[in-house]
Assembly symmetry: C2
Homo-oligomer: 245 residues x 2
DNA sequence: ATTTACAAACGTCATTTTTACGTTTGTTTT
DNA sequence: AAAACAAACGTAAAAATGACGTTTGTAAAT
């Protein structure tokens, strides 16, 4: 029997999904439900992140990609490894001691945590076997293990990163309005932004491209649609240093 | 025999030290020297990062702190966990397969990489047993394992982070001149900065405090000394959001 | 004692960006 | 045709930035 998994290293994924309609930043969690043997008592009923062991020939990144695909069917989403969690209380299920060449080792599961950025609308939860569900990041259910901490640290990283990098557009559809972007910033950061100044600032960016299209199916003045050009962005910021301490 | 170490998780430390005199950002590496049994052939002679297994009751952070202390004697230095490295080719020395409850596991060393920021002058390398040595980050020697990649990724993280957070002051003495700060930015980022504008910008920050002291022992006009006030900085930036995408 | 060398420190001005508002426009619904 | 309302544009003061020139203060040399 060939070994398949890497011992005591796992990858956990915080899947952030933005719902452009409710303007809510959500996290995808799966239900963990455990009954006693006689099924008379519920032992565990909470929500956890998805994660899995690292396979033998996988990089950590590949494990994360695989976990996301199994959960959502999606590939090619924005992914970031943001932290490893490996405290002594993260014990493995088989709490054995391992002997290698007369040296004893303790077991502990260290998890390499990733977060993904995508749109809730891209995920079909209808026929998923994991009882996966979206929860607003600001209104989480009871979360198992140390996964609430992992989620909150991912969220903190996202908050910081979205201020300096255009990752926000990974959470939006290809075509968006200026107000969509503003709503998203406000959701993530929990702040109010002046629409007139924000609009001017964004429109003046060369990598924000006005399309020949407007919103359809709205009951007010339809807004101009824009797209984000990664090509232009990348060309502009090859040598940009802005010290803003 | 009680198990002491955690299996196949290690911590590697990139120790950045700034030398204010030579204006050089350095990395502390240790020599790895291996001869053949008859001592007629040098098998390995390169430099690597310091790292170690995680101990049974340690958090990852504590391991990193311990590794730094053993190498330099220093504690309470700025420390950041910046990435985990766990590719399939990072095999352990004992390449065994591990069986736990009829399940086979592959071994691979995953390392949680940290970097530290400190001053070279704080480290006494005179009587260290590791043959540790400082190397300019832009002029590394032959580096073993995948440690060059780890160093470069740490450096990249530092470059990005120093633009938005005042971590630069961790590399400087408590009392510094404006030009010291400028030199440091220039070293790290490899750029030229206009001294007059930089000076004005920094002096206007409320958390840069002018002291009642000047440089001593310089053969030119002695410069005003300043300090960084973390207290004031923290108070100012509790609710500061600057979207600069 | 005076001069010299040189980095430290200050000043200026045009340009750009930000902040804080008021106003107009265009579409759908009434 | 009017009302409702978000989209979109405008303006002016304040602050920050970029690109320079100029003055100042100290130690060392004369």
């Amino acid at each position: 029997m060939e070994p398949e998994k890497i011992l005591n290293i796992s990858v956990d994924c915080v899947v952030f999904g933005y719902d452009i309609n409710t303007k809510s930043l959500n996290v995808l969690l799966i239900n963990r439900f455990l009954e006693s043997e006689d099924k008379k008592e519920v032992l565990v009923n909470d929500y956890v992140l998805t994660g899995y062991h690292v396979y033998k020939n996988e990089t950590l990144d590949e494990t994360a990609t695989r976990v996301l695909k199994e959960l959502t069917g999606l590939t090619n989403q924005y992914k970031k490894q943001f932290k490893a969690f490996g405290n002594p209380d993260r014990l493995m299920n088989p709490k054995d001691i391992i002997w290698i060449k007369n040296e004893a080792f303790n077991l502990r599961t260290t998890t390499i945590a990733y977060y993904f950025l995508l749109k809730t609308e891209d995920v079909d939860l209808k026929n998923n076997k994991n009882k996966a569900k979206w929860f607003p990041v600001n209104n989480l259910p009871e979360v198992g293990f140390d996964h609430e901490q992992i989620i909150l640290e991912a969220y903190e990283d996202l908050k910081v990163k979205c201020l300096s990098k255009p990752i926000i557009f990974k959470l939006l559809p290809d075509k968006f309005t200026i107000n969509d972007v503003q709503d998203l910033y406000q959701s993530i950061l929990g702040i109010e932004i002046d629409n007139r100044n924000f609009r001017r600032k964004l429109i003046n960016k060369k990598y924000i491209i006005a399309l020949d299209e407007k919103q359809v199916g709205v009951s007010k003045k339809p807004a101009q649609l824009y797209m984000f050009s990664k090509d232009i962005y990348d060309k502009m910021f090859q040598k940009n240093y802005l010290i803003s301490i």
